[in-house]
């Protein structure tokens, strides 16, 4: 914290001239693959994270070489929808500038890893040429806006999607810095002349995430987001939205003042009020969020500290919208539904299982090449899901067979026949790129699931969906605290095991085992799965079962998350 009680990032933002900082200079400094320290904060607003290959970090230090720096680039994909041409462009960029893989994220965006500093500018330019961008994919602003990808009800889906795009546009920062630095846009005479009408000089105190949801599927995990709009359809028409606020996952080990929190339902608004309500939520957080302590700066703490009633008043006063009482709705699950499905307009959609979101050609599954081939012929859309999967969308009857053939040819066709456990697994990126990882995640979960699959099979549960999510640290990028089995990295090979969340993402889980290694994890789950198999109720979910049988305490609110574990 600096002298005036503001966090260091606040100083950097304030001095940045609308996110310019010294980025342009950092990019051409030839003696380091890194940016100047302050610029590493600013680059995030441009969708760019400085990282280093942690597999060689200590070896390189010994070698008196700086870390093997490279950059992760996150491209925004509002609502997760992109065209085959956009996909092909990302695929080409991944192979030309990045590490040859495309990473689908838990928020329907795309990440590229391993871009070196000298090629950053070309890469960003190429992404923009492909009609995508990276501005505000990260940073203290509203991030990629999520929306449910699977359009069983095509008209409703299209309408919700339009809202998502409008919200995304409304909350995009106005600064020209992005164009100046990456696209050689004309420089404004002075950065200070630009208006940033919603965000102001120092943007938000912290990241901000919003989503739309369409019941009965909670695939977007609406309760984990700062701001959510749950579509309420009445008589087949969009009546409006239940507004949710104050969700978030991130916490720090050993700091009980930080905790995951599920969003509150604030009230109901008409479709025409979405943008006003959203802006009011954002500006309230802008003005009242904690700018001194970044670990306490998310909207969830603002609401926790000041109360939901106070917050509702702010939103009403700022938007002029009086929220109505929430309307009823029901969620049944937060996973994806795999394989071919037909929407009400007759078009087909194929949901593909992409283990942990990594699109690559590896292990006999040529996912990247396969999708390239499909994108070459496909006339519909690709949709990214919040569970890191991909949907080949808007396929006509006669186009199905050729796509099936391409899937089979590239060894992709069978991936959705994995165990229900694997199909409901998710891991964050973690090592070796994520600078915050304390343990393996994406590289390790598949192997752990291999072992757990044996247990599941032994108990006849291979077709029973159980959500399992792993993250390399407590930040919770794969939303592990709303998984029936949550694994959160503590140190190399060590995880905290959380159990008992709701299958539809409606209840947090609770700490069951601390600092567990693989044997501990398998050892703890083995009897529980056995009990579950033998004495579960009709259609009873694993998480519900564990709460009912008292294995873990029900967590009713984020602030009780740690207390529930203690007794």
């Amino acid at each position: 914290m600096s002298a005036n009680g503001l966090s260091d990032v606040e100083r950097i933002k304030a001095a940045s001239r609308r996110l310019r900082g010294t980025l342009a200079k950092s990019l051409v400094d030839p003696v380091t693959g890194a940016l100047a320290e302050d610029d590493t904060q600013l680059s995030k607003f441009h969708g760019i994270y400085q990282q280093d290959d942690r597999d060689v970090r200590s070896e390189r230090k010994r070698q008196r070489l700086e870390p093997a720096y490279s950059f992760m680039i996150r491209a925004r994909v509002p609502g997760g929808v992109l065209t085959p041409v956009q996909w092909l462009n990302m695929d080409r960029i991944a192979n030309t500038y990045a590490n040859g893989t495309v990473r689908l994220t838990t928020r329907q965006a795309i990440q590229l890893h391993g871009v070196i500093k000298w090629r950053l500018k070309e890469t960003i330019a190429a992404i923009n040429e492909g009609l995508m961008d990276t501005l505000a994919a990260c940073g203290d602003v509203n991030r990629n806006v999520m929306a449910p990808p699977l359009p069983q009800l095509s008209a409703l889906h299209r309408e919700v999607h339009q809202h998502a795009e409008a919200l995304s546009a409304r909350l995009t920062p106005a600064t020209r810095a992005y164009h100046e630095i990456w696209l050689d846009g004309k420089k404004l005479d002075s950065g200070a002349a630009e208006k940033e009408p919603i965000y102001g000089d120092t943007y938000l105190p912290r990241k901000f995430k919003s989503t739309f949801a369409i019941p009965p599927q909670n695939d977007v995990d609406v309760y984990s987001q700062d701001l959510g709009f749950i579509a309420i359809s009445e008589a087949g028409r969009l009546a409006g939205f239940n507004v949710t606020v104050g969700g978030g996952m991130g916490m720090s080990h050993g700091e009980p003042d930080t905790y995951p929190r599920l969003a509150d339902v604030l009230g109901f608004c008409a479709p025409g009020d979405v943008l006003e309500v959203a802006e009011a939520v954002v500006t309230t957080q802008r003005d009242f969020g904690d700018r001194g302590n970044r670990k306490h700066a998310r909207l969830k703490y603002t609401i926790e500290d000041r109360g939901i009633a106070w917050f509702r008043d702010q939103v009403t006063a700022r938007s002029g919208v009086v929220l109505q009482a929430p309307r009823p709705f029901r969620f049944v699950g937060n996973g994806d539904v795999y394989g071919w499905q037909q929407d009400d307009s007759g078009l087909w959609h194929y949901t593909l299982f992409v283990e942990n979101g990594r699109v690559a050609d590896a292990g006999g599954v040529d996912l990247l090449a396969g999708l390239r081939a499909i994108a070459g012929t496909h006339t519909g859309e690709f949709r990214l899901t919040p569970n890191q999967n991909l949907i080949i969308s808007n396929v006509s009857d006669d186009a199905r067979a050729p796509i099936d053939a391409l899937l089979a040819e590239h060894g992709i066709g069978n991936t959705i026949r994995a165990s229900a456990l694997r199909l409901h697994s998710m891991a964050c990126v973690g090592m070796p790129t994520c600078g915050l990882a304390m343990a393996e995640s994406e590289r390790y979960l598949p192997a752990l699931v291999d072992r757990l699959e044996r247990l599941v099979k032994a108990n006849g549960l291979e077709a029973v969906p159980i959500t399992i999510r792993m993250t390399g640290c407590p930040n919770g990028c794969a939303r592990p605290y709303i998984a029936e089995i949550g694994l959160v990295g503590k140190g190399p090979g060590r995880y905290n095991l959380y159990l008992g969340a709701g299958f539809a993402g409606e209840r947090l889980n609770s700490l069951h085992l601390e600092n567990a290694d693989e044997d501990d994890i398998v050892g703890a789950l083995s009897p529980l799965l056995q009990d579950y198999a033998s004495s579960r109720g009709d259609a009873e979910r694993f998480g519900d079962f564990l709460v009912r049988t008292g294995v873990v305490r029900e967590v009713r609110a984020g602030r009780e998350f740690h207390a529930a574990a203690r007794d």
């Binding site: 030839p30 003696v31 380091t32 693959g33 060689v56 970090r57 200590s58 070896e59 390189r60 230090k61 010994r62 070698q63 008196r64 070489l65 700086e66 093997a68 070196i116 000298w118 080990h253 050993g254 700091e255 304390m438 503590k490 140190g491 190399p492 090979g493 060590r494 601390e514 600092n515």
Partner: protein, 594 residues
Amino acid sequence: MSTLAADSIALPLDAQQLGELQRAVAGLAPAQLTWVSGYVAGLAAADGGRTAPAAPPGETLTVLYGSQTGNGQTIAERLAERARDQGYATNLVSLADYKPANLKRETLLTLVVSTHGEGDPPDDAELFHEFVLSDRAPKLAKLRYAVLALGDSSYSNFCQTGRDFDTRLAELGGERVQPLVECDLDYEDAAAAWAENVLAELPELLKPAESPLPRLRAVKNVATFDKSNPFPAEVLANQKITAADSSKDVRHIELSLEGSGLRYEPGDSLAVIVHNPPQLVSEFLNELGLDAEEAVTVGSESLPLRQALDEKLEITAANQGFLRAWAGFSGANELSKLVEPGNNAALARFLETHQIIDVVRKYSARISAETFVGSLRKLSPRSYSIASSPAANPDEVHLTVAAVRYEALGRPHWGAASTHLADRVAEGDSVRVFVEPNPRFRLPSDDTPIIMIGPGTGVAPFRAFIEERVERGATGRNWLFFGDRTFRNDFLYQLEWLRHRKNGHLDRLDVAFSRDRGSKVYVQHRLRENARDIYGWLDEGAVIYVCGDAKHMAGDVHDALIEIIAAQAGRNRDDAERRLKELRRAGRYQRDVY
């Protein structure tokens, strides 16, 4: 051997005694000084047996910290600030910046350190931790210390790093002034209490700060080690400093000169006496069908053939004399022709591409062991530019060695000395060395700007130069041109250059990597790009240094400098060449190329 360390020591004289001593030795020549130092050492030795007084109060409190998320750093900063406020000379250093070699000079030290990973030190403490726990760690008889460990008791290796240090410092001879304190996540109160306790002890342990007297350097008197009597220097470190993916293997070698009395200056080289690659010795024995144990004569010595090939004779680089002899043994016309007068170009090409073993394989001959040995040269010491400043690294000398290993004619080849250093000596082994002074490669006065051009291992002496200038507080500006194959894998000492740049000790740093982009870029290209500024620096009296490859680089750089002078001064090439010669004569263009 003298018991005095060669670095600065706590001054045991009062101001008057010091003055008298300084008057007495004023004006003495170096040789006389050496004699006097021996004389004085003799007096001290005669006075031996008197036990040293209990450790005198130290002068400085060193406050070290190893911290990942800043907790330990804050604690250390607060402690240092309070000690300073109370008038004690206090030195606050992150372990990332702390030279392990300084440890043996410390008298009072506090260490705040956390534990991360699975009982691992925080990143900034990693190297120091490794050093202190290794066999290389020095005895610390003068040290008094206190360790504060930060941790989280939910981990099985609670406060491991702090425990490691606390135990190890005691093992090395240090004396605890406070017992180890282990803090859990709620560290604040325990940490504050620990700091209070440390502060309360300071009046006992430290002299209050006063106006500093000039520090004396201890002088040593020992038999001098030289070429005929090389010093067996212990290897302190043998660290590869090119990345795993590099096409090269460059080593940073640290040797101990402790007890040798050897002295050097930045710019000097170190000569190393080595053994030949054992694989190569065996290849010769096989190829020639000779008995390894057969006695042969080298000079006046009689010894087994294997030993002669191992340590007495040059068996890698071929030379004309050998080719001539081998042409005789083998009767190979091709060889005889090569060594005839007038075939210089072909001979040079042949020598560049063939080692002795290649000749022996290609042109077979049956000869006796004695005859073979008679055709070989004595194994000569190899020189390496010294990469360290003695002021910054007392009792140590560092080298930057590129291992010569390559494939040719379908077989692996080795350089003798470079692979000896890279592959065949480990920490704790010793290497025979002597110093080769190089008075023609010297730093100028402290306020003179310098331009250093050192691609590849040519950068070695410039590491010494910068270290030395930092130690001296030199004000002259420093500009380094470095080049190698790739930025990511071959940027020798990158972290050090970045640190010097950040601290304002390296004003400019330009790099050229030849294999990163389509077109090859070398240091001479960077020189041309910076023509105006180089000329500007020259105008301000800068000295230019070039070190490294003699075959191509030195000439290319030389040409670039001529061009720069010609273009910037608006002169013709001859004039520019003359100007560069003048600079050379004036000692403002110095080269050390090989």
